[in-house]
């Protein structure tokens, strides 16, 4: 993991690289039936599950807004801690949706499937 510590006008911030795993969740499945343009679906697909140890190190708490960025694009989501034994350190999970699409590269390596899991992204706390 590359860890960069720096200073912003507001104070100390941390940027790290994470492996992002977009996937299905039951809440995503139930809210999409209400409609993908509804708030419930948007909330689910903008919630990033993170290893709690990673969050502690980055001084993040549940509900903090973070920026995810890679060569393809960037998006803003809110983080939610998971027990370290449930989600390996250095990885994060997000239900599929428009925010994860912002980060998905279009190269399919000749098979039609873009790399939809195992995306390397930079994560940075958005300072309020």
């Amino acid at each position: 993991m590359i860890i960069i510590n720096g200073d912003s006008k507001q104070g100390k911030f941390v940027v790290e690289n994470l492996i992002l795993i977009p996937g299905r969740s039951s809440k995503q499945g139930t809210t999409l039936n209400q409609g993908k343009l509804k708030d419930a679906y948007k909330e689910v697909t903008t919630t990033l599950e993170m290893n709690q140890d990673d969050m502690d190190r980055m001084k993040l708490v549940d509900g903090d807004e973070v920026r995810l960025k890679n060569e393809t694009g960037e998006t803003k989501v809110r983080c939610l801690g998971k027990k370290p034994e449930d989600l390996p350190a250095g990885t994060a999970f997000i239900p599929y949706g428009p925010p994860s699409s912002e980060l998905m590269a279009s190269d399919t390596a000749g098979c039609g499937m873009p790399l939809s899991k195992h995306m390397i992204v930079e994560i940075e706390k958005i300072l309020s």
């Binding site: 039936n33 343009l37 390996p88 990885t91 428009p98 590269a105 499937m113």
Partner: protein, 455 residues
């Protein structure tokens, strides 16, 4: 809720590939909505209870309400004018509608692809390379004593897969249900599916192929390198134990999900798993089944295969079907800027595709059919709001094990179904293409008509 309640027994849920056909739906006939869905899982309940009749136009052109006939005319004109029209989606509609979409694409010499290409498309490639040792879910229920889930989280994506087909149901040769089975779960993270597992294996991220290949070696009696745990994250004794269990079970099944196909290795991962299942048939009966997501994505594979000879990523521009994933799959036709018009049926690529593909999709005229407003329909040039298959519309869907099931609708919708809209577009497209062909010098009406006879 009114007192006029109709009960539909043995209705089918088409939300996911489990296609459970034992639902009991309680329908409020006056309010035209389902008020109770007995036996449905959490996803099924949301599917049935949230699909109500909305007050919205059935057809729009550039956001303005029009008649269905006007929208069909504009859709046909848009598709016929295009040089590289694409058809995409199809996994949440009936096989009857899918057949019409193939015919339209054939007429317009377009490109057809389904959501399979961004789901188990890599497995489709692996099937062609390795083969598939397969079975129905009924065989799994009645016979399987070793059930392995690899790279999936059915507790959240297919909640009744455990209870109806593979873990707890009592079968002919598994009368004790779960007591007669060993359940193995392989995943890089702990999920809501983990508690069901007797054995939980957590490989390192991106090391599924290596674990599968190591198991193949062990099954064949080869010795593994001492550092296998360092490479894969899985201890040697765990791998040896699993290999022995696989060789010695009576009927084993490998269910595999997006954790293999969407991550690094893609079709190589699926291929390694299929090869492992094949290897195991030297010792016992072993099958491998992809766990499919959308209600009729398996039907899309079946229909496109019957009609064109290939399951997805098919191009008709030369007048005959050609299959080339990576070129004719939709992420590629969009991201490479080839497509200049799109027919999107029951799918939302503007929400789920890579950004570059979405950007191109938004720059071309789109004809979209969906039951609800989505990122794709809201920007579509022509948008149809259609009725919901299985709730308002009968037809055929294919369960994830390729078993066809007939739908029993619950109540009528004022909106047309996908099949009737697509049939309308097909008829008009055929007329336009014949006229276009004649205008470019073809002679003989019969000859021209023959050139546009559907598959």
């Amino acid at each position: 809720m009114s007192e006029n309640i109709k009960i539909i027994k043995d209705a089918t849920c088409t939300f996911c590939g489990c296609v459970c056909d034992d639902m009991e739906l309680h329908v409020d006939v006056e309010e035209k909505r389902i008020v109770k869905a007995k036996k449905a899982c959490v996803l099924g309940k949301a599917w049935f209870l949230e699909h109500t009749i909305e007050d919205a136009p059935a057809a729009m052109i550039d956001g303005k309400e029009v008649s269905i006939e006007e929208a069909i005319e504009e859709a046909a004109q848009t598709l016929v004018k295009a040089k590289f029209p694409i058809t995409y989606g199809l996994s949440d509609t009936t096989s009857e509608a899918q057949r019409e979409a193939v015919a339209i694409t054939d007429y317009i010499k377009g490109n057809i692809d389904t959501t399979t290409s961004v789901c188990h498309g890599p497995s489709g490639l692996a099937f062609q390379g390795i083969g598939e040792s397969t079975s129905t879910l009924g065989e799994v229920k009645n016979r399987a004593d070793l059930v392995i889930y690899w790279g999936g989280n059915p507790a959240e994506s297919h909640p009744r897969h455990f209870g109806r087909y593979a873990v707890t149901p009592k079968g002919m040769f598994t009368p004790g249900g779960k007591k007669d089975r060993t359940i193995v779960l392989v995943d890089v993270r702990k999920t809501k599916s983990s508690p069901v597992a007797d054995i939980l294996i957590k490989p390192k991220l991106g090391k599924d192929f290596e674990v599968l290949w190591a198991l193949r070696a062990l099954v064949k009696g080869k010795k593994l390198a001492d550092n296998i745990e360092e490479i894969t994250g899985v201890p040697l004794e765990t791998l040896e134990d699993l290999a022995e269990r696989m060789k010695n079970c009576k009927f084993g099944v490998l269910f595999f999900g997006m954790g293999l196909t969407m991550t690094r290795g893609r079709h190589f991962n699926s291929g390694a798993l299929l090869a492992l299942a094949t290897d195991l048939n030297e010792f016992t009966h072993f099958v491998a089944k992809p766990v499919r997501g959308h209600g009729n994505v398996t039907g899309a594979d079946n229909v496109v295969s019957w009609q064109t000879g290939y399951p997805f990523g098919v191009n008709f521009s030369r007048g005959y079907p050609r299959f080339n994933p990576g070129e004719f799959t939709t992420v590629d036709t969009l991201a490479n800027g080839h497509a200049d018009a799109a027919l999107i049926v029951a799918s939302d690529p503007a929400s789920n595709f890579p950004k570059k593909a979405i950007d191109h999709l938004k720059s071309i005229p789109v004809v979209a059919l969906d039951t609800k407003r989505t990122e794709t329909t809201k920007d579509a040039h022509v948008a149809f709001k259609t009725s919901t298959y299985g709730i308002n519309t009968t037809g055929t869907v294919y369960r994830m094990d390729d078993v066809p099931i007939t739908l029993r609708p619950a109540f009528e919708s004022p909106f047309p179904d996908d099949e009737s809209i697509l049939t309308g577009i097909k008829k008009r497209v055929q007329e336009l293409m014949i006229a276009k062909h004649q205008a470019t010098g073809a002679s003989g009406e019969a000859k021209v008509a023959a050139a546009f006879t559907p598959l």
